[in-house]
Amino acid sequence: FRYTRNLVDNGNGKFNLMILCWGEGHGSSIHDHTDSHCFMKILQGNLKETLFEWPEKKGNGEMVKKSERVLRENQCAYINDSIGLHRVENISHTEPAVSLHLYSPPFNTCNTFDQRTGHKHKVTMTFYSQFGERTVC
């Protein structure tokens, strides 16, 4: 019922390569990338990426949008923590989307952010499947 993260390759511990499958209307939270490089390529459909500024230390207000764009099939994007935070969404109500993600070094926790307040919350990310096998929770 949410987008799925499917691990394809773990590069001997140097990177995580995964495929994300987004149903109609599925979106991620606003999140950071735990000091890693993040590359993304659209394999099918379209994904909207909204960039946000890091919230102020004592921030207690709405987070500031930097920019947004719609990434089309075969387009690539890159982000890391020094660039900012982002939310990725499939805004289509008719087409699913598929994206390829490369994270280096690999990470399994990150922070999610409440857009209304800037409050952050550490989360552990899980895989729906790994190397073609469904991950049992």
Binding site: R2, E24, G25, G27, S29, H93, F113, Q115
Partner: protein
């Protein structure tokens, strides 16, 4: 659809005519006895002849499980669609719907309902009469409030409400024990604690009704006009556990924040019998800038167990 379709392919189970510019689907559909999946997204359906007449009597009414009509031009849910009693999955995403017909409750087998990306302003309480509904998508519409009856959707696991016009949620949402995912971003949810929104003083009828209920004054249907007997049956209990009061129409609407997952604060609508009747745990302060502290400890712990993933940020 080409004439003779059912003669050439009588065993057809899956038909995908998406992206073909179709403006109508005719009687060819009625004689496909094995069809369980019909995908007709991104067409020009929506006018009068979009679905054939007599759909309710065709074998399709019992055999069809999945119907995808997303990306078309429907401004209302075609009534004949509601005769597809075997339907498990229905998508009308990205159309021009302004509302949901109450007869949606006819689709008793429905498990998946996608209505995102329309112009829906309100949800009929009859939507709650779908006992198998597990996945409900209402994102990207113009919905201002959720009827509390939606809490009766006992099978609901995922509810998508992002990008609407919601300012609060009914507190009954806490009753959705199986709900695992709830998306609420892009709604003008009340951030600051708001007390005592509105209060119209009760009428004499209401005061009399309250007295009868709280003092347990006995009455029989022969004692009172039928309209008053009905009125007395509509009494609601004040949710304040320390208050034994009831209310009929006159109540204070109070927005109360309840913690989900220990992190996110959602404004839930409470109805109390009077402005004096506040929850025993609520803070009496008028905090202006910071969000108020977690009010009812009991409610917060109950909510945390029941809601696992709230996609708010």
């Amino acid at each position: 659809l080409p004439a003779g379709l059912s003669q050439w392919f009588p065993a057809l189970e899956v038909l995908d005519v998406s992206g073909t510019g179709l403006t109508e689907m005719g009687t060819e559909l009625l004689s496909l006895p094995c069809l369980h999946t019909l995908l007709a997204k991104n067409n020009r359906l929506g006018g009068p002849g979009s679905l054939p007449k007599g759909l309710g009597q065709a074998p399709l009414a019992r055999s069809l499980r999945v119907l995808n009509l997303s990306g078309n031009r429907f401004s209302e849910v075609p009534p004949s669609l509601l005769q597809l009693r075997g339907l498990r999955s229905l998508s009308l995403g990205g159309n021009r719907l302004h509302g949901i017909p109450p007869d949606i409750q006819e689709l008793q087998s429905l498990e998946f309902l996608y209505l995102g990306g329309n112009f829906i302003t309100a949800i009929p309480p009859e939507l709650a009469k779908l006992p198998c509904l597990r996945y409900l998508v209402l994102c990207d519409n113009k919905i201002q409030s959720i009827p509390p009856q939606l809490a009766q959707l006992h099978s609901l696991r995922s509810l998508s409400l992002h990008n609407n016009l919601l300012t609060y949620l009914p507190r009954e949402i806490l009753n959705l024990v199986h709900l695992e995912e709830l998306s609420l971003r892009g709604n003008p949810l009340v951030v600051r604690f708001v007390r005592d929104l509105t209060y119209n003083p009760p009428s004499l009828q209401e005061l009399a009704g309250r007295t009868i209920k709280t003092r347990n004054i006995p009455y029989t249907p022969s004692d009172l006009p039928e309209s008053l007997v009905r009125y007395l049956s509509l009494a609601s209990n004040c949710p304040n556990p320390k208050c034994g009061g009831v209310y009929f129409d006159s109540c204070v609407r109070q927005i109360k924040f309840v913690d989900f997952c220990g992190k996110y604060r959602l404004p839930l609508m409470h109805y109390l019998c009077s402005p004096e009747c506040s929850s025993p745990f609520s803070s009496a302060s008028q905090s202006s800038t910071s969000q108020s502290e977690s009010d009812s400890e009991d409610e917060a712990s109950v909510a945390a167990h029941r809601m696992q993933k709230v996609l708010l940020g």
